[in-house]
């Protein structure tokens, strides 16, 4: 189980990296944390002719909060984000989800940008980016453009980036102050890909739900935003019955695949179960803050 040969490139700047991508296109592959790519290369399922290793681009490793938005350089390690006091204080759902991404040894290398660009259908960060209406900045040879999460995820492991573009920043709009949150997932083992997972952010004002966000993972080719379920919640007084309605709406909104670990039916069912529980937990947290 040894990788096939490749040419290795270490750009020091984003411009160098983009130039290399322009030169190699389909023949080039960006190496960030490598925790998903390198296993595929070791198994020779992936045989990129050129590896463009962006790990030396210092400028891409940063994490800051600006005007209600969390800005993460693409190369920020998952572990750094997980440990960031800023995230713990302003976007705890992200911290809670990060803790379930593989294991410490994986997160020490794995990057936030990599998780998003890899777009694993069972990824955690993708679902949260979608639920929070996040966006990414990508740099191409000609221009820099911003892609909204809603337009980013195309299908299995596929985003709307073109092969010449490099993802350079991920932005998570912060949930309103005092909002409750919950990340829940069912995985076979600690650290495994979720069979199904859901992230919920809930803001409650004057006894009614002012804002609701529900993002799911592991239940289809891309992360899913349960928009209809969200609409059903907003303006309503919180109640278990209401959570149950939302859970039903979620079941209706997802079309999971089955695999050897869980059938499509199981995933659909559990997506609902988790939604109900996550809403409850998020609500309780919101209440505590209030």
């Amino acid at each position: 189980m040894k990788p096939a040969a490749f040419e290795y490139h270490t750009p020091r700047t984003v411009d160098e990296a983009v130039a290399l991508l322009a030169r190699y296109g389909e023949e080039g592959k960006v190496l960030a944390g490598g925790q998903s790519l390198v296993p595929l290369m070791n198994m020779r399922l992936a045989r990129p002719a050129n590896i463009i290793d962006i790990n030396r681009i210092d400028a891409l490793a940063y994490l800051r909060r600006e005007r209600g938005v969390l800005r993460l350089g693409a190369l920020t390690r998952q572990r750094a984000a997980e440990r960031s006091p800023i995230i713990a204080q302003h976007c705890p759902i992200l911290r809670d989800a990060l803790r379930l991404v593989g294991h410490a040894q994986i997160r020490n290398r794995g990057t936030v940008g990599g998780s998003i660009a890899h777009a694993d259908p069972a990824g955690e960060l993708t679902a949260i980016l979608l639920a929070l209406d996040g966006e990414v900045t990508v740099r191409g040879p000609k221009r820099t453009r911003v892609i909204a999460a809603a337009d980013l995820f195309v299908t299995y492991l596929t985003t709307s980036l073109d092969p010449h573009e490099l993802l350079i920043e991920v932005r998570f709009p912060l949930p309103p102050e005092g909002a409750g949150w919950s990340w829940m997932e069912i995985a076979r083992r600690h650290g495994d890909f979720a069979l199904a997972g859901v992230g919920v952010v809930l803001a409650v004002r004057r006894g009614r739900i002012a804002e609701a966000r529900i993002g799911l993972t592991g239940v289809g080719p891309t992360p899913v935003r349960a928009a209809q379920a969200e609409r059903g919640l907003v303006g309503q007084p919180p109640s278990t019955a209401l959570w149950a309605e939302a859970a039903e709406a979620v079941r209706g909104a997802v079309e999971p695949d089955g695999d050897i670990h869980a059938s499509a039916e199981y995933r659909k069912h559990v997506a609902g179960v988790l939604t109900l529980r996550a809403l409850q937990e998020a609500y309780e947290r919101a209440r505590k803050v209030a």
Binding site: M1, K2, P3, A4, A5, M43, R44, I186, R188, R189, H190, G191, D192, F193, L195, I260, H261, A262, S263, Y266, H269, V270, V273, L274
Partner: protein
């Protein structure tokens, strides 16, 4: 002489080197001019090989050789039949490289040797093989049915053996039984997955005409003997070393895996050492697997829950070949009766070829299946007859005064199954005490009131261990005072370097640290069979103790002349040899060893040769039977099917304990593997025989989070079958885990009245059971 070390928690001699990263595993071996091999394997479960073109591979940079079947000549196979059986009518073994037909995904087709493993894999990508796919026999039931695609064209059937064992008159007893219950019970495929995969390094020295092999095997001596025969070399011209072996659990006993022939052959042909290290993906298709069986079983009981008769007719999935004969299904059918009186018993199986990886024993080796069947039937009976599940077991247990107890069956070693000793009722009491069975009903009610589904399971087993034919051991005292011990049974982590040292230390009055145990090198000890079937401590341990005893007597003899006393007056302690009661008249053990090897003058005839050294062999008349009871408490989330283990209790009787710390470690590991097989680990195949779990991302070994703390209680009923009174412990942990967890999950979900008949469970399966539950609370 007072025992000091046997029975004590002595820290292991082997640990310091391993903790420093100074172990020597096969892959750690670096030899000058070493070449590296990669194996090209079949992507098809069943196909005809139309054409192989290795031309481009042979011309690829850094390639030393490419072997296909056409290049093997007399080594083309088929490989030897390891364990034949009279009822095995189609004893099929594989060729080192497939010639015309591949019969499972992963069957070797070509071997590439190159300057690096990277280059070898590059070249193997260049080998063109044209396959004509054939229909595959995958599903066990379907493969056994007439008209199924044939795994071996010339057999006319996939059933390679049909074997029946009977006790009493089952038909009669069953007909008279007032209560009868039938179950179809299924155990699916799993794999041992030691963290170190297999590996072979071979080196041929044309000057000395000597072949040296380093092999991650549990049985170096049989490998040495087999290779010598195959390569027409006298046994002393072949050395096989099993250095540090990173876990075995059964699959590392084979004779042969293809690579164990191909790598030495390549080394001899090329005149340079060759290394092959199995990668993890290969391990999932090329290393033997186990567990798959389907039992149709029926139990008959009287009004009081006493078993009158039991019948099981089952299918055993042999995989594509059957080099290991019928060991697994025989062990399954002879383990089924367990600790219970079974006056009438009928066990009948068909061993069936399928286009899946070959099956050979994996820790438990059929025992978990037998126990799963027996315990599930008792659970069903208890439930239907309204008898407490521990009570129905108690009523059927063999009593302490009934030993030796002849079960009436023939075991894997062709000896009668005769339980030598034990106290089954006490083990059951001990376990139910530890788990708190008496107060369980209230405790469970409290959980239910709090909306939690928590359940308890209890399961019993008897384990055949310590079978023959024999093992031997040589003990030598060095003038330095160190004691050197050599034996044929290698270790894969069971702690032989310590437990054998304890036994020897007690005889020679030294500490286990003074005793250096060497195993797994055929140059170190020439006779033996290997480490399997929970036999090493029993058979080799006894041999070590006997050899040490002989050395002790020789020491007394030699010291007597030196210290002018009678041998009987000589004592050994703290590394000293002295006259009892006169500690001043003393020599160090090393001094006596030196004196025992005189340079001049006459040597007393009664010494029977120089040195403080002796070799002894132990050949047990038959196996000795350990037993135990497992009890666990699980919590189930009926909405998601997630099961978590809250407590796990093991009460275990393996006779006298040499090192309780090591025995407990063995049990912990066995339980963890059992837990994996009960809920996480499943080798899924698709309808075409493609394995769907060939990575650790899809084949789920439990982690520290999934495995609960394991509480171990010991009972010690010595066996009369060896002077130490010890029984085997290696497999105990894994055996009844599935049975205990199945019962516990049913108990947790009693409000839903679900019924478990298949292993492994999974969140998906548990959820399915709840969804179509016979009741909803």
């Amino acid at each position: 002489m007072s025992t000091r070390y046997a029975g004590a928690r002595v820290p292991r001699n082997e640990d310091p080197a391993l903790l420093r990263g100074r172990g020597l595993f096969v892959d750690d071996l670096a030899l000058p001019n070493l070449a590296h091999a990669a194996v090209l394997r079949s992507p098809h479960a069943h196909a005809r090989i139309v054409r192989i073109d290795a031309g481009r591979a042979r011309r690829a940079p850094g390639v030393a050789a490419v072997l296909t079947h056409a290049d093997l000549g007399e080594f083309g196979g088929p490989l030897p039949m390891l364990i034949p059986h009279p009822t095995l009518i189609h004893p099929k073994t594989q060729q080192p490289l497939a010639s015309s037909v591949v019969r499972h995904v992963g069957e070797p087709v070509a071997l590439v040797v190159a300057e690096s493993r990277y280059a070898a894999e590059d070249a193997s990508d260049l080998i063109e093989v044209e396959y004509a796919p054939l229909p595959a026999a995958v599903d066990l039931t379907a493969a056994a049915a007439p008209g199924a695609p044939l795994v071996h064209a010339n057999t006319g059937t996939n059933v390679c053996a049909h074997y029946t064992q009977r006790v009493g008159d089952v038909e009669h007893a069953m007909a008279l039984a007032p209560h009868r219950f039938r179950e179809r019970l299924v155990v699916d495929r799993g794999t041992a997955s030691p963290i170190e995969t297999r590996g072979v390094v071979a080196s041929w020295d044309p000057r000395t005409q000597r072949l040296e092999i380093w092999d991650s095997t549990q049985a170096p001596i049989p490998i040495r003997n087999g290779l010598a025969a195959m390569f027409h070399l006298p046994q002393p011209s072949v050395r096989v070393v099993a250095p540090d072996v990173g876990g075995g659990f059964g699959p590392k006993v084979m004779m042969f895996y293809p690579e164990e022939i191909l790598v030495p052959l390549a080394a001899m042909r090329l005149g340079r050492p060759v290394k092959w290290i199995e990668d993890r993906r290969e391990h999932f298709v090329a290393t033997n697997q186990e567990r798959e069986q389907i039992h149709d079983a029926e139990i008959g009981l009287d009004e009081t829950g006493r078993i009158l008769a039991l019948r099981t007719v089952f299918l055993y999935d042999a995989g594509a070949y059957c080099p290991y004969g019928l060991i697994v299904p025989i062990v399954a059918s002879t383990t089924l009766p367990g600790p219970y009186r079974l006056p009438n018993y009928h066990a009948e199986f068909n061993a069936v070829f399928t286009n899946k990886t070959t099956v050979s024993p994996y820790r438990g080796a059929g025992r978990p299946h037998g126990v799963f069947v027996m315990e599930r039937l008792l659970d069903r009976a208890a439930c239907e007859l309204g008898i407490d599940r521990t009570e129905i077991r108690r009523r059927n247990l063999i009593q302490p005064d009934e030993f030796p107890y002849a079960v009436g069956l023939i075991y894997q070693d062709n000896a009668p199954v005769e339980y030598d000793s034990g106290n089954y009722p006490r083990c059951l009491e001990h376990a139910t005490e530890m788990i708190g069975y008496a107060g369980w009903a209230d405790q469970q009610a409290a959980y239910r009131a709090a909306g939690r589904c928590v359940g308890l399971g209890v399961a019993c087993y008897v384990e055949g261990t310590g079978i023959g034919p024999y093992e031997g051991c040589r003990v030598t005292v060095d003038p330095s005072g160190k004691v050197f011990v050599s034996t044929g049974v290698g270790t894969q982590g069971q702690g032989h370097m310590t437990s054998f040292a304890q036994l020897v230390a007690d005889q020679l009055g030294v500490t286990p640290r003074d005793v250096v145990v060497r195993t797994g090198d055929t140059d170190g000890f020439r006779w033996g069979t290997g480490t399997f079937a929970s036999r090493a401590a029993v058979v080799a341990g006894t041999a070590a103790s006997l050899a040490a005893q002989a050395v002790r007597e020789k020491t007394q003899l030699v010291a007597a002349t030196l210290l002018e006393a009678r041998p009987k007056e000589i004592d050994l302690a703290e590394g000293k040899v002295f006259v009892r009661g006169v500690p001043a008249r003393a020599l160090s053990l090393g001094e006596v060893a030196a004196a025992a090897n005189p340079l001049r003058f006459a040597m007393p005839a009664e010494w029977e040769g120089p040195g403080l050294e002796a070799t002894r062999y132990f050949a047990p008349p038959r196996g000795t039977f350990s037993n135990g009871v497992h009890a666990c408490i699980v919590e189930v989330d009926p909405e998601t099917g997630m099961v978590s283990l809250l407590r796990y209790v093991v009460v275990h009787d393996c006779g006298r304990l040499i090192n309780p710390m090591i025995v407990e470690g063995q049990i912990h590991g066995g339980v963890a593997q059992g837990i994996g097989g009960a809920y996480w680990e499943k080798l899924a195949y698709d309808a075409q025989g493609q394995p769907l779990a060939t990575t650790f991302m899809d084949y789920l070994l439990p982690t520290a989070v999934e495995v609960p703390p394991i509480e171990v209680g010991h009972e010690e009923t010595p066996t009369p079958l060896n002077p130490l009174g010890v029984k085997g412990a290696g497999e105990a942990g894994v055996i009844p885990v599935g049975a205990a967890i199945a019962q516990a999950v049913e108990d947790a979900l009693r409000p839903f009245d679900i019924h478990i008949t298949e292993m492994p469970l999974s969140p998906n399966r548990v959820r399915q059971l709840v969804a179509k539950a016979r009741r909803t609370p």
